[in-house]
């Protein structure tokens, strides 16, 4: 075998596939093609980003979390509060959201380093519950009513956020795309490789020199920042923060979305978000409790059928797969 094969292997893995270009072109084109559904486009982009943030820890580092909404919610509240108390600049809101969530992510990352899956589950649920309680009780978060009256200024001074949602959709898509690029780079880097190793065999990873704890802390923090920015996008584009940004349902929903599309290849979260939001939109006239029932049913069916079989549906030819 010539040396070219080994080098080729790495080169081929990181190269952009044609379908990826199509995907993103289509994503941005949707703004022009569906001018009346821009709120939906906005929702999909935000949920997709949130799902990518969960993928970073679940799909790539094997960390089971049922409390990821904590970071989403913290980001949303941070952005909302900054807009209410400081200035309504959208980018300021996004930065505040990412920063706040990142700090909390870093601080809580140490909690999930040890222990079993169950312990991790509990700690993530516990942390999210703590923040939900705080938001519920505190004055400055608006309590059960959430934050309203958020006024966001025009994007880069020119593009106002209106009811049609065009600015919102473009902002969300752009931010998601940008963060996706960053994540893609991260996945194919040495850091990303070490994450895969510690997900597959933490014992051996340590034995070959991977500082497992440090890497987990790093990716957990990055994932928290991503989730925080997603939450901030929601606050900025809808100009409202409700208490349910921190709800358990939100953590469960993003997990479902990621599992729908398949964890471990970034596009899974985006596709899952698209499928879920479109479905939700189509059956919007059904009452809230029906939706929850179908959500549960889908989860049960996915598990019974087998996640790997579902994932095979999405085997777009040679797109990012692990």
């Amino acid at each position: 075998m010539s040396t070219a094969t080994a080098r080729d292997f790495f080169r081929r893995r990181t190269a952009w596939r044609p379908l990826e270009f199509v995907f993103w072109l289509a994503a941005f084109a949707s703004v022009l093609v569906f001018p009346s559904r821009l709120l939906l486009v906005n929702d999909v982009a935000i949920l997709g980003l949130f799902a990518i943030s969960l993928d970073l820890i679940l799909g790539f580092a094997g960390i089971l979390s049922l409390g990821h909404a904590a970071f989403f919610g913290i980001g949303a509240y941070a952005a909302g509060l900054v807009a209410l108390d400081l200035a309504g600049d959208p980018f300021l809101g996004l930065a505040a959201g990412g920063l706040a969530a990142g700090v909390v992510g870093l601080a809580t990352s140490f909690l999930i380093l040890r222990g079993s899956d169950l312990t991790r589950l509990m700690i993530t649920i516990g942390v999210a519950s703590i923040f939900l309680e705080i938001a519920n009780r505190a004055e400055f978060t608006g309590g059960a009513n959430g934050l309203s009256g958020i006024a966001i200024g025009p994007l880069v001074g020119f593009f106002p956020f209106d009811l049609y949602g065009r600015t919102a959709a473009i902002l969300s898509l752009s931010v998601t795309f940008f963060l996706f690029l960053l994540a893609r780079r991260l996945i194919f880097s040495p850091f990303g490789q070490s994450l895969r190793a510690l997900k597959e065999n933490r014992l051996r990873a340590g034995a070959i020199g991977v500082p497992t704890h440090a890497r987990i802390v790093a990716i957990y923090t990055v994932a928290a920042i991503y989730a925080g920015i997603a939450g901030a996008l929601l606050a900025v584009t809808t100009q409202f923060v409700s208490l349910d940004v921190l709800a358990f349902r939100r953590s469960a929903e993003v997990l479902l979305v990621l599992v729908l599309g398949g964890a471990g290849w970034l596009y899974g979260g985006l596709i899952g978000a698209l499928v879920l939001k479109v479905l939700q939109d189509q059956v919007a006239d059904l009452t809230e409790q029906y939706w929850e029932f179908w959500l549960g049913l889908v989860l049960v069916v996915i598990v019974l059928v087998g996640r790997d079989r579902i994932a095979r549906l999405w085997r777009l030819p040679r797109v990012l797969l692990r």
């Binding site: 850091f191 990303g192 490789q193 190793a197 597959e200 014992l203 034995a207 020199g209 790093a218």
Partner: protein, 250 residues
């Protein structure tokens, strides 16, 4: 000059069970040292203590004179202490190329780089490929490790430990589970190791031990029974008795 690896009074207790007691072992530079003993003697426990998977209840471990008793696992690997596992510990979804390449990256302290593409330093990629070639794994280097035949996985297990260019290599039963036909290959690879690497070999296969080792330590019930050259150990009555099961945990 301090030994490549040394333990001083190393001890490990699990509640009432003493898995290792008063183990003082010295691995000379360039050593070809074997550790033998009946089942349950605590050989793998000792390896786990040396590599930091377990922490000792007493005693010290010194790597080239430096006290590493409290050093975390991954740092010991970076300091040059490498091991193989009795049961293959690989990354099933990763290819041999990626696996070995990662070990090399970590060795070069590049594992934390998130902004670079993994294969960007072609010299390291070439090194990984060359290493796999030495082990005869180049034909399968882009297959996921999990689907490789057992013999290949075992070779990868050893290759992976070598990728870090260790100064001390701990081999935990490298021939375990390897079919008769492949054992020669494993033995050849081990004997071809450069003298810069000091090797401690844990093995049950006595042919392998006696053709490889220049020095043998015998571990029985968590303690070193005796140590010496292969002929000394072979002649020792107590060693024979220990293996015949009269003593030891069996």
């Amino acid at each position: 000059m301090s030994p490549a690896l040394e333990t001083v009074g190393l001890e490990k207790r699990f509640g009432g069970l003493t898995a290792a007691s008063g183990i003082s072992l010295r691995l000379a530079h360039g050593a070809r040292h074997a550790l033998i003993g009946p089942n349950g003697a605590g050989k793998t426990t000792l390896i786990n203590l040396l590599t930091g998977v377990l922490s000792p209840t007493a005693g010290r471990i010194l790597l080239d004179g430096r006290d590493i008793t409290a050093t975390p696992r991954h740092r010991r690997a970076r300091d040059g202490l490498s091991r193989t596992f009795q049961v293959n510990q690989l990354f099933p979804g990763m290819t041999p190329l990626e696996t070995v390449h990662l070990a090399i990256l970590e060795r070069e302290r590049r594992g934390g780089r998130w902004w670079q593409s993994a294969g960007s330093d072609t010299a390291l990629v070439d090194e990984a490929e060359a290493l796999l070639g030495r082990f005869g794994l180049e034909t399968v280097m882009t297959e996921p490790a999990g689907i490789l035949p057992y013999g290949y996985q075992r070779l990868l297990e050893i290759a992976l430990a070598l990728a870090a260019r260790p100064t001390v290599l701990l081999l935990d039963e490298p021939a375990a589970g390897v079919p008769e036909s492949e054992r020669d290959r494993v033995l050849a690879l081990i004997t071809e190791l450069p003298r810069e690497v000091s090797v401690l070999l844990v093995e049950h296969d006595m042919d392998l031990v006696f053709s490889f080792a220049e020095r043998i330590s015998v571990l029985v019930a968590g303690a070193i029974l005796t140590e010496g050259t292969p002929s000394e150990v072979a002649a020792d009555e107590r060693v024979r008795a220990a293996y015949l099961g009269e003593d030891g945990n069996g």
